[in-house]
């Protein structure tokens, strides 16, 4: 069943006529062409598809378009602040938090969600918050480091 859905994507109003069972992930990637968000499993087990919905991180492979009415969605494409990288993006580049980079968009969105609520997370808190985001390349050491460095950057900007 098709339905007209209105929501906000990265600050812009979007209106689409889509089947209500279409997954948010597929809507973003195939219909809107926002391919920064990745699919790793399609079953909610890897976190590669993480986006922010109404300020909370969600697995976009588990969200149906029908649930989107009025929602505020932020994806990796909306993480930059103007032309400038977000602190967590800068830290991932600087520390080598991305190897192949496939888990990275989801990892960055989840890190942003953590840092939005806690700009001084302990290593333990980082590992807990990001444990649903699988990475097969890095062994996570550099990701933890990058999130810590991003937190420090954010704190020095907004002490």
């Amino acid at each position: 069943m098709n339905k007209k859905i209105d929501f906000t994507l990265n600050g812009k109003a979007v209106s689409r006529d889509v089947p209500t069972h279409r997954l948010l992930l597929d809507l973003l990637r195939d219909e809107i062409g926002a391919t920064g968000t990745k699919e790793g499993c399609g079953t909610g087990d890897c976190g590669a598809c993480t986006v922010m919905m109404n300020g909370k991180p969600v697995n976009s492979c588990l969200i149906l378009s029908g649930e989107l009415a009025g929602a505020d969605i932020v994806t990796i494409e909306g993480l930059k602040i103007g032309a400038e990288l977000h602190a967590v993006q800068k830290a991932f580049v600087q520390d080598g938090g991305a190897q192949c980079g496939y888990c990275t968009p989801g990892m960055l969105m989840m890190s942003k969600a953590l840092l939005d609520s806690n700009n001084n997370p302990s290593e333990e808190e980082i590992r807990y918050a990001l444990s649903g985001n699988l990475c097969r390349c890095t062994g996570y050491a550099k990701i933890v480091q990058a999130v810590q460095d991003a937190a420090a950057m954010l704190r020095s900007k907004n002490p």
Partner: protein, 759 residues
């Protein structure tokens, strides 16, 4: 004195060349490639582990609105193909041999229609008895997976170097045990996929997330029955490979056949479940019986290995992998007399294949535990046993591997200090233990024909920037950054002034691709040689401009000047333009090649298989809860000898990532089969390590220099996957005195072993 040399770009903490695109979502992975009019392809897979196909009726599927092509083996030339043995087809011919095998495929205007069309294909199946266990498969009368392979034997190796009977007779003690490894899936977070286009002039253009473009092109051309030039393979960004994307599967082939029939571009991307069933070829699982003879002083005197390896239904790279499992470790310690017997056996399960470590993790799981058994039997510290036997520079293994640099002993010292080995052992706490293991790997391996080389071209643009053209590709590990550093170092320009192209079989020269930890060493040498060639051309032109001798020139930071007279210089950009924009001008462009000084092993598998060998040591401290069997890895330390470290952030990432895969292999990763049917083909049941599963880790690189490497570098990528399972099991044994003999080491198995020990 330090062996490492000081360089201006090599060894510096430069950032990843693709860093920006990776954090903005702009990297174009295979699923991000959209061609106009592109269709979605889906594959009908065998539900049976072994079945005859009496007939296939595709008529209903063809009639479904929105379907543009339906293909079966009738749309192919039915020519078998494969990495070492040609034993698999694009789509099943006559019968299927494992659950998940490709039987037919559909291309349609959207994924829902493609799925629906699969349901409309009618296959008349005749299920056949299957064989699922390598030991049973060898018995007379067992069902045959391939009619022309008696007793399902795909390969049989039987070798002796020296005199094994005498060597065991000379030994003071002998230890022996059998260890079983498990299949392991690569689980790159990006699955395998392809986008193919066919033009009526006969040319296929295929975007692939492969790690080996030219091998892919060769296999695709073979299976399609067209010349290699009619297949163009272009590499997309690759979301992790680890050996799984080295084109032993059928994804791209099915995609190409669909594109030809549909006359439109088609994309086929594996779902996660398909990736488990029939995508990447999982690690070959092996049962390894190992017997070691030691002298009283700890020297290894004799080694005998018996390997039974499960090939699955088709061969992929398992023949070479089984050979590595049987032989590679003989380059780690100083062995004199060794014997090995290895059998590779067909079964009705997913074909196995290349995964980081290539046979070494299975072998080290067994052999490094046998070394530990020997240490305990002799009452010698396991670290001392390793030190007594460790290979050194100049060592030649019984199989002819020649070691041109080796810092294994240094790695042992480093690990000893990092984990405080002696103090912790002296102060042993209940249920807590220490373990270690050593490892060796190659830097390239000569086995695809008599060649383990690479080539690269570098051109200097009018603005003075250098572009490397290389067909080796980048599969996520960061090799492109290392190549830019090597070129920058040789050219004397800043690393920001060097770029590297995407790999494309039409535009780049022949390269073997990413496997066998070969790129930094083999491709690095080719890139360095190309840069030397280009530098010579720059100097000739600059000599004219500076009125000097080319031989007196040097370059630094993008400027060329006479040594000692830095005041008067020209920029690389000035030189490139002066050479180009004039009567009879020419661009500055140069190529370089390199072929490792290795030899193709002979019929007895004797011969130096690689140009250089890399070494490492890992140690762990674990705690085992005797009530639950839970293992907690309290600490891991790693020392690696990879020669000069070119790109430190990337090298560290290889160690950390390899170790994580080793920990998964040791503790959690295992696919359960029921009559050949995988029971847990998903991430919630097949558990790879998450951020919370990683132990505290400390690691470091040995002070090392490989004389044949580019600026002293050798390979690294696989080294730290190899020994981890043995390290952890050795530590568990030290903690609670039991050994689980099959991977993964689960709490249930530990509890069972503890119960048996109590009696």
């Amino acid at each position: 004195m330090s062996k490492a040399k000081n360089f201006s770009v090599v060894g510096k903490r430069v950032q990843r060349v693709e860093g920006f695109d990776k954090v903005t979502g702009d990297s174009k992975f295979i699923a991000d490639i959209h061609l106009p009019g592109m269709l979605t392809g889906r594959i009908l897979r065998s539900p049976y582990p072994h079945a005859r196909i009496r007939s296939i009726d595709t008529s209903k599927a063809e009639k479904l609105r929105g379907v543009r092509a339906v293909v079966t083996a009738e749309d192919t030339i039915k020519r078998p193909w494969g990495a070492f043995f040609a034993d698999q087809y694009i789509l099943s011919v006559g019968k299927t041999r494992y659950v998940g095998e490709e039987v037919a495929a559909v291309a349609a205007i959207d994924p829902d229609i493609a799925e629906e069309a699969l349901d409309l294909i009618e296959v008349d199946w005749e299920p056949l008895p299957g064989v699922f266990d390598a030991d049973e498969a060898m018995l007379d009368g067992a069902p045959l997976v391939h009619d022309d392979k008696p007793n399902n034997i795909a390969m049989h190796l039987d070798l002796e170097r020296g005199n094994i009977v005498q060597a065991f007779a000379d030994s003071d003690i002998i230890v022996e045990d059998t260890f079983t490894s498990m299949p392991q899936w690569h689980c790159a977070i990006e699955t395998i996929g392809s986008v193919a286009e066919y033009s009526p002039n006969g040319k296929y253009t295929i975007y692939m997330n492969t790690q080996t473009l030219f091998n892919a092109r060769y296999r695709i051309a073979t299976a399609l029955g067209v010349p290699e030039t009619d297949v163009r393979v272009i590499q997309s960004a690759v979301g992790g490979g680890f050996g799984g994307k080295s084109c032993d599967d059928n994804n791209a082939l099915v995609c190409a056949v669909l594109a030809r029939k549909a006359g439109k571009p088609v994309r086929v991307i594996n779902t996660r479940e398909e990736e488990f069933l029939a995508g990447c070829r999982p690690r070959v699982f092996m049962k390894i019986n190992v017997k070691l003879g030691f002298k009283k002083d700890g020297r290894i005197r004799a080694k005998e290995l018996k390997v039974i390896a499960d090939n699955g239904a088709y061969s992929a790279k398992a023949p070479a992998i089984t050979g590595v499992a049987a032989m590679r470790h003989d380059t780690c310690y100083k062995y004199s007399d060794v014997k090995l017997e290895a059998k590779l056996i067909y079964t009705n399960k997913i074909p196995t294949g290349a995964f980081r470590g290539f046979g070494n993790p299975s072998a080290e799981w067994a052999v490094e535990q046998a070394i530990d058994l020997g240490a305990h039997a002799l009452g010698i510290d396991p670290l001392e046993i390793a030190r007594i036997n460790a290979a050194e520079t100049g060592y030649v293994s019984p199989h002819g591997n020649r070691v041109t640099s080796c810092e294994l002993k240094q790695c042992l010292d480093m690990v000893e200090n990092m984990i405080d080995w002696k103090a912790k052992r002296a102060n042993k706490q209940p249920n807590t233990g220490m373990g270690l293991a050593c490892t060796v790997h190659v830097s390239g391996k000569r086995h695809f024909g008599d060649y383990d080389g690479s080539s690269a071209t570098i051109k200097i643009n009018e603005d003075g920037k250098a572009l490397i053209l290389s067909g080796e590709g980048e599969c996520g590990q960061g090799v492109h950054t290392a190549m830019c550093q090597i070129a920058a170092e040789e050219l004397g320009v800043p690393v920001e002034d060097v770029e590297i192209s995407r790999a494309d079989t039409d535009l780049t020269t022949f390269c073997l691709g990413a496997f066998a930890s070969r790129l930094t060493y083999v491709s690095g040498n080719a890139v360095k040689n190309a840069a030397t060639n280009v530098k010579q051309q720059l100097y000739e032109q600059a000599a004219e401009m500076l009125e000097a001798n080319a031989a007196d020139l040097i370059s630094r930071d993008g400027r060329i000047f006479v040594q000692g007279a830095e005041g008067k210089s020209v920029t690389v950009a000035d030189v490139a333009r002066a050479r180009l924009f004039r009567h009879n001008g020419a661009p500055i462009v140069g190529s370089g090649s390199f072929d490792a000084d290795s030899v193709l092993p002979d019929s007895t598998r004797f011969g130096n298989e690689s140009g250089a060998y890399n070494y490492g040591v890992q140690a762990a401290q674990v705690h085992v809860d005797p009530l639950t069997g839970q293992v907690k890895v309290l600490q891991m330390v790693v020392a690696s000898d990879c020669g000069t470290v070119i790109y430190p952030i990337g090298a560290e990432g290889q160690v950390e990532g390899g170790l994580a895969q080793g920990i998964g292999y040791a503790l959690t990763e295992g696919l359960q089969f029921d009559e050949g049917r995988p029971l847990n083909p998903n991430f919630s049941d097949y558990r790879i390590p998450s951020m919370r599963d990683m132990p505290p880790l400390q690691h470091a690189f040995a002070d090392s220099y490989e004389p044949t490497g580019p600026f002293g570098a050798k390979g690294l990528g696989e080294l730290n996957m190899d020994p981890t399972a043995a390290v952890i099991n050795n530590a568990i044994f030290d903690a609670v005195g039991v050994r689980v003999k099959t991977l993964p080491i689960t709490p249930e198995k530990i509890l069972r072993a503890l119960k048996e020990k109590k009696g």
